[in-house]
């Protein structure tokens, strides 16, 4: 176990190194001069020169990489040039927002997706099934920004039930927080629910036609028990894997939804940073997200190692 753990930990180092090089090099491929972009409308030549020197833009790539990576190793990801805030502080500020939005979206997606998928499979070829399929098609084909603006117009402007946009910390005012987050979470969850519904339906159809379900029914079990206890449990395995992947994507920021609802999360942070060539913010956020992915992956592997005894024998 210890050897396995050490081996996996050792693998993280080259992976992270590779990721950091990739982020850094890809960023350099962005056209445009960061110093000019940062110097603003006036673009005073002295300021442009100063910014170039300050951010080592006039030095060779390997040297610049070294400045950044050695700082990152010390836990210093640098500072946003645009607003003069340390990148780590920005990440810590946005992380809870993004986690909350992702978690709420995921809950909505699971709730709607699995329910619709199960109904659609059980009531195959009925109006229920067609209805669920239409819902899935709607979810997959509706652009997030359009649905977002539509919801704002209905629930904020016309009905006045929810705030149009903005974010309030749950520690400040939980009710206001939930009112502000429910629409963006629904917009994000709606699209994922459609994908989950399609997968739940096919997994359920497969399980429902298997021998053990037939046996359960032959035993005279109540249909609800057969579906929820015997069939759904087994059908859930691929859904959970898919859900986890979607959750990972949500954590890296939902750019358009955050933009429409003015939610200050990762997506908005990184897009603004790219447009303003705030290199250190882009690099810091991507490196952080990659590290989270790699760590989660490692934890999943370790969990697998713990639950599956056959792994330990190898």
């Amino acid at each position: 176990m210890l050897r396995y753990l050490l081996r996996r930990l050792a693998q993280i180092i080259p992976t992270l190194f590779f990721v950091s090089v990739l982020i850094f090099v890809l960023q350099q491929l962005l056209p445009g001069d960061p110093a000019i972009a940062l110097a603003g409308e006036d673009r005073d030549p002295d300021t442009v020169r100063y910014l170039r020197a300050k951010f080592h833009l006039d030095e060779p790539l390997p040297v610049r990489y070294w400045y950044w990576v050695s700082g990152a190793l010390r836990g210093d990801l640098g500072e946003s040039v645009r607003i003069q805030k340390p990148v780590t502080e920005l990440i810590l500020e946005k992380l809870p927002v993004t986690i909350q939005l992702a978690a709420m979206a995921m809950l909505i997606a699971l709730g709607i997706g699995i329910t619709a998928g199960v109904i659609s499979a059980v009531k195959k070829d009925t109006w229920w099934d067609y209805g669920a399929n239409v819902f899935a098609l709607w979810g997959l084909s509706t652009p997030n920004f359009w649905l977002g603006i539509l919801l704002i117009l209905v629930f904020a402007v016309q009905l006045g039930w929810l705030p149009a946009s903005g974010y309030v910390s749950p520690f400040e005012d939980l009710k206001a927080n939930l009112s502000a987050m429910i629409m963006p979470a629904f917009v994000l969850g709606n699209a994922i629910a459609a994908v989950l519904m399609r997968h739940t339906r096919s997994a359920m159809l497969q399980v429902l036609s298997s021998d053990y379900v037939r046996t359960a029914r032959a035993k005279g079990l109540d249909e609800r028990v057969v579906i929820l206890k015997h069939a759904l449990r087994n059908a859930l395995v691929p859904i959970i894997t898919l859900g986890a992947l979607e959750f990972g994507t949500l954590l890296s920021g939902a750019v358009l939804t955050e933009q429409v609802f003015t939610i200050p999360g990762f997506g908005k942070l990184i897009v603004d940073a790219v447009f303003n060539r705030d290199y250190l913010v882009v690099q810091g956020v991507v490196l952080f997200t990659a590290t989270v992915y790699i760590t989660l992956n490692l934890l999943a592997d370790l969990a697998y190692f713990v639950v599956n005894p056959r792994m330990r024998v190898r």
Binding site: D42, I83, A156, S165, G166
Partner: protein, 498 residues
């Protein structure tokens, strides 16, 4: 009864005081340090946070703010300013000549300062006594007063600035009507009323929250749902709809800046490889193919003023003798024939913003009728700026937000060594007259110099000026006291919610 009345009065005054003004901005401001700041929306926040030596009124006159009066020396090479007494900074420090000297020197000398260019002619600053400061110049500089109505004229607390160094922008300390509370990047900037403000009778809000909401539709939805009290840059397309809603008001002002097309006439070799850059007749034909009024109507929903100079026709320095060219397709075709290029083709680099795209498309369609083949090249803004600086473009749709003095709309763009001279234009007479206008304090002489420049620039066309946008503001109908100054800043003094 009297007690009840007194309580009611207190309650009413508390309710008035406890109000928060919520302002929706079109972008997230950058650093809140007057020396380093560079965005337009940043200036809107500064209007609540930092008072300046001078301010502008609705007619663009320079009026005192932290100053009370000023006097030029006989040779126009030094400006003596008398300061308002009894002004304190948000940290309780005194605002005096020493603080003004410190701030001006900081703006001029601090590394990374974006004010260095504006204050380049300032050779030294003397604190004559506690309330008198003298700015010495290396040469007369007419735009100085106008420069001091913007960030260069903002006075910061020396104690706070010394303590914070380069981090001053994270917690700015000035002497404006509101003081800094917090900033959550991309979410909001909160200011609270400064009880020690010298002009506190004019302040009727307890707090101001500035919220950046880049999408105009969402910004408007926030106003309509009551989340915001005021939004800047209403989309022109939303004007008719909002006008019919009695709960809101629209305010508009013609901007100080302009929208134009910069043509590469000598920036790089590319200029000589293209008929548009090479031949003034082709540029004239291009201009004659454009109908500015129609362009304004189609691309801006009528929310702009057609123009042909670096200042709007309503500006006192607009050269009236250099009139707006009317569309003339026959003449345009004839000019192209004379130039020997019946169907010239060029690439129009265009930022990805929707209004710039619309302008490019309308220009493309209009120019086509004269025989031009205009290819639109949508380019992300930072990339476009770099290509412009390198001269890797033929024509570029570019807006300038404008400054109070015409010099700042002209000198950096059309003087030979202007830092923003994207066209590569350099003309002896224009150079001399631009310099004459910036060193003369006589408005008549300046206007005469600008007239010569306008005539020559109209002939050479390094920039084809198109129009001046309206700053469109929308706000709750109960909000009163709004002042519409062409610089587009939201002045909080006098604003109140009825």
């Amino acid at each position: 009864m009297r007690i009840v009345f007194a309580f009611a009065l207190v309650a009413v005054s508390f309710a008035t005081q406890a109000q928060t003004l919520r302002i929706g901005l079109a972008e997230d401001p950058d650093i809140l340090d007057p020396s380093m700041a560079r965005t337009f929306v940043g200036r809107i926040v500064f209007a609540g946070l930092c008072d300046k030596l001078f301010d502008l009124d609705e007619k663009l006159n320079v009026v005192p703010q932290l100053a009370t009066s000023y006097k030029w020396s006989a040779d126009n090479k030094s400006l003596e300013i008398k300061l308002r007494e009894g002004v304190t900074f948000h940290d309780g420090e005194k605002m005096d000549a020493r603080a003004v000297k410190y701030s001006l020197e900081r703006h001029k000398n601090m590394k990374g300062s974006n004010r260095r260019g504006e204050l380049a002619v300032v050779s030294s600053v003397d604190a004559v006594d506690a309330t008198t400061v003298r700015i010495n110049l290396s040469a007369p500089f007419a735009p100085l007063l106008a420069v001091l109505t913007d960030r260069s004229g903002m006075v910061v607390s020396p104690k706070a600035a010394e303590a914070a160094g380069e981090k001053f922008g994270a917690r700015p300390v000035c002497s404006g009507p509101f003081r800094f509370v917090e900033r959550i990047a991309q979410d909001r900037i909160t200011l609270e009323r400064f009880p020690g403000y010298w002009n506190k009778g004019q302040i009727h809000f307890e707090r101001i929250v500035y919220q950046p909401i880049p999408d105009a539709t969402v910004r408007l939805a926030n106003l309509r749902s009551g989340q915001l009290d005021f939004i800047e840059r209403l989309a022109p397309a939303d004007v008719p709809q909002l006008r019919s809603d009695g709960r809101f008001r629209i305010a508009k002002i013609v901007e100080l800046g302009y929208q134009g097309i910069t043509i590469n006439v000598a920036k790089s070799d590319l200029a000589q490889k293209n008929p548009l850059g090479k031949d003034p007749r082709v540029r004239e034909a291009f201009e004659l193919s454009l109908d500015r009024e129609a362009l304004v109507k189609v691309a801006m929903e009528g929310e702009a003023q057609a123009g042909n100079q670096w200042v709007a026709p309503s500006n006192r320095y607009y050269a009236k003798s250099v009139t707006l060219p009317k569309r003339n397709l026959e003449r345009a075709k004839q000019l192209l024939k004379e130039a020997g290029v019946a169907n010239p083709s060029f690439t129009l680099m265009t930022p990805t913003a929707s209004d710039a795209q619309r302008i490019a498309q309308v220009v493309q369609a209009m120019a086509k009728e004269a025989g031009f083949d205009v290819k639109i090249q949508s380019t992300e803004f930072a990339t476009a700026l770099k290509l412009q600086d390198q001269g890797q473009f033929e024509a570029f749709v570019l807006a300038w937000s404008g400054r109070a003095d015409p010099d700042a709309n002209l000198h950096q763009f059309l003087s030979c060594k202007g830092p923003l001279n994207g066209s590569g234009y350099c003309q002896e007479e224009v150079e001399a007259r631009i310099n004459e206008a910036r060193t003369s304090l006589d408005p008549a002489r300046r206007a005469a110099a600008y007239e010569v420049v306008a005539r020559q620039v109209q002939k050479d066309r390094p920039i084809v000026y198109l129009f001046h946008r309206n700053w469109l503001w929308a706000h709750n109908a109960k909000l009163s006291g709004l002042r519409t100054v062409p610089d587009g800043m939201v002045r909080v003094q006098g604003l109140r919610m009825n």
